[in-house]
Structures are given as C-alpha cells and as structure tokens.
Symmetry: C2
Subunit: 218 residues, 2 copies
C-alpha cells in the first residue's frame, strides 16, 4: 500500500503534468494564432495565462507542505525539489507563449512575408522536448532526458537561420521591418522555450540519478 | 548563541549575496563593454559566467543539505525556499549579461548610431532593483521589496521607447539595421533582467511576510 507521502507526491506529480499540458497548449495556440492571424485565439492565450500563474502557486504550496509535514528523503526529496524548479520553468514557458500571442495581436493586418515554416517547426520541437522531459520523470529514464538536452541545438540553429533570413528581408525591403522584427522576436522566444525545456530535462536527471548535470558541458 | 541552523543559514545568505555581486558585476561590465566597444571586457564577462554557474550548484546543494539535516520551520524554511528560487534568478541574470557581451562582440567595429544613454540607464535601474531586493531580505523589510516591484515599469517603458527609436532608425537607414537590431535585443535582455529582479523582490516578500505576492496584480 502506498504511504501518505507517496500519495501526496502522486497528487503533486499529476498537478505538474496538468501545468505542462497548459503550457504546451499555450505554445501551440499562440503559434497557431500567428499562422492564421487569429487575434481571438491569441487573446485566449493571453487570458488563459492566469490559470498557469495560479497553478504555479498551488504546486509550490503543496511542495512546501510536503517538505514540512512529511520530511521526505532521497528520491522523494529530489522529486519535490525538482518539481519546485520545474514549476518555475513551466510558468515562464506560459509567459513566453503569451509574448508570442501579444506579438500576433500587434502584427495583425500586416502582410505576411512568406508562409511560416521554421517558426511552427521550432514550436513543435519545443513541445516535444517538454513532453519528453516529463516522460523522463514518469519512466524514471535519464536517457530520454539526455536526448531532450541534445535537441536544444536544433532549436538554436533554426533561430539563427530565421534571424539571417529575416535580416535579409529587412535590408532589401524596409517596409518589411515591422513584421520581420516581430518574427525575429518570436523565434527568440521559442529559443528560450527550448532553454526552459532543457532545464526541465536537467531537473529530471537530477531526480532520477541524483546527479546535477547543469552546466556540465560549459 | 546562534544555533547550528542559524549559522548555516548565515553562510548560505552570504553565498547568495556573493552570487548577486557577481551577477551585478556581469551586467555592469557587459554594458560598459558595449559602450566602449571593448571586446576584451565583453569576453571577460563571457568567461566569468562559469563562476556563477558553479556557485548556483553549490548554493542549491547547501539549501538541500540544510532542508534534510536541520528540517527548518517557519521563517527559516521560507528563507531556504526563497534562496532556492532566487538562486535560479541570479544564474539567469548572469546568462543574460553574457548575451549582452556576445552582442557586443558581434557588433564590434560597426558604427555607433548615437551615444548610448537609455540602455546604460536600463542597466542601472536593473542593478539598483537587484540590490534593493536583497536589502529587503537583510533588513527583513517588505516595503523595500514592494518598491522594487513598482520600478519594473520604468525598465519596461525605457524598453518600449528604445524599440520605437531604433525602429525609426532602421526604416530611415537600412545600413543601420544590423546595429539597431543588436541594440533592440540588448534592451529586451535588460527588460528581462528587470523581470528577474522583480521575481527576487517577490521572493523577499514571501520570506519576510510568508505571503506569496506573485501574480497578485495580474
């Protein structure tokens, strides 16, 4: 039979998965709103962010309560500490999706430079990274998490590529500056979402192995 | 006589202040390197970031050790939890200063659009915010922290102003695009440093009052 502590940890885990689902949905909807110039969808991302904010506070509170009342040790303690940090990353991912949605609202009505391919691809990779980082926790498999960390390069390279391409657009056609600048900002936001997914993967490895892999390849 | 726990908390506090000093120095040097087009100084910021990375891991480890071995309660527990989160913010601030330094290296040799005034001003405000947020912890004074949170608007407004100004530069003179884009990115980075300083102030209020003020005005 599971202990009180184990039951409480399961409850916290399911809340952090709920938080991840909301963050992923926010990324996906914000990029969809950009592709379709759909300001109503963009506004729903902006309005929905308060849900993530509330959930962040709830999860922090529950982690603290478990720390105080159950005094977990070893793997259980590492899980609580990992979740405390993952929680911050997911809330930040929600904020970043909101930034994309706000840029969509700002860009609305401006001519599309070209069909968006690389930006949705960056979002896709970011979402896969978040999902896999959390799967590494459920399956307690550090190899999955290591693969997430490696994929951050894919996002970084797409960001550089998008920057170069839009830079040329601006130089050739000053009328495109406003939109190109918006897309450069959005690519940068997605690159940061990749950084946060990497953080989550690092916390997953810490939880499973007890090893802190942050900055190990700096 | 102070208890073991109190002595250990003092040691952790002095490490987090050391971390803050390093982060502040990184911001200050990176903006100085930009002003003077000094790539050697910029490189020293980039190289120095590993110190912050190492200190982050040390502080996290010591917080965890205190949680496990001393099982702190009430104010003491809140201090450890606040420091665990502040630690992440300060490490991120160090990364952001590195981004400014990298942009300085990239921009080197390009003509200056005009003397830099607003960007150094943003850096100054950011540094004052970080210092005051930590002073709120030492003096256990939530009013200082509340003022820090209010000041985030100043940085946000400077960022918007810089964006508008550089946007006009680009539209008028496509040759300025590369440098203007670099400065827009740097202003955005400083705006994010303000966000992290705000986070630190919120954690200070949580530590002193036990009240979570995150997202309370959303």
């Amino acid at each position: 039979m599971p202990t009180h502590l184990e039951l409480e940890l399961e409850a916290i885990k399911s809340k952090i998965f709920e938080m991840a689902d909301l963050a992923i949905e926010a990324i996906s909807k914000s990029v969809e709103s950009l592709k379709k110039s759909d300001t109503t969808l963009a506004q729903s991302v902006i309005d929905g962010d308060s849900l993530l904010d509330q959930l962040e506070i709830t999860i922090d509170d529950e982690c603290i309560r478990v720390l105080v009342t159950r005094q977990p040790a070893a793997t259980h303690l590492r899980l609580v500490l990992a979740i405390l940090k993952i929680n911050t990353d997911l809330e930040r991912i929600g904020d970043l999706a909101t930034n994309i949605a706000k840029e969509t609202v700002r860009l609305q009505g401006q001519p599309t430079l070209k069909p968006l391919i690389d930006i949705p691809r960056m979002a896709e990779i970011g979402i896969e990274m978040i999902k896999d980082a959390l799967r590494a926790i459920t399956e307690m498999d550090p190899v999955i998490a290591e693969k997430v960390i490696e994929r951050d390069n894919e996002i970084d390279e797409l960001n550089i590529q998008i920057y170069r391409e839009l830079f040329s657009y601006m130089a050739e056609n000053p009328k495109s500056i406003s939109q190109a600048l918006g897309l450069i900002m959005i690519a940068k936001v997605l690159e940061r979402i990749g950084d946060h997914a990497t953080n989550i993967a690092e916390r997953a490895i810490y939880y499973v192995n007890g090893v802190d892999v942050r900055h190990s390849d700096d």
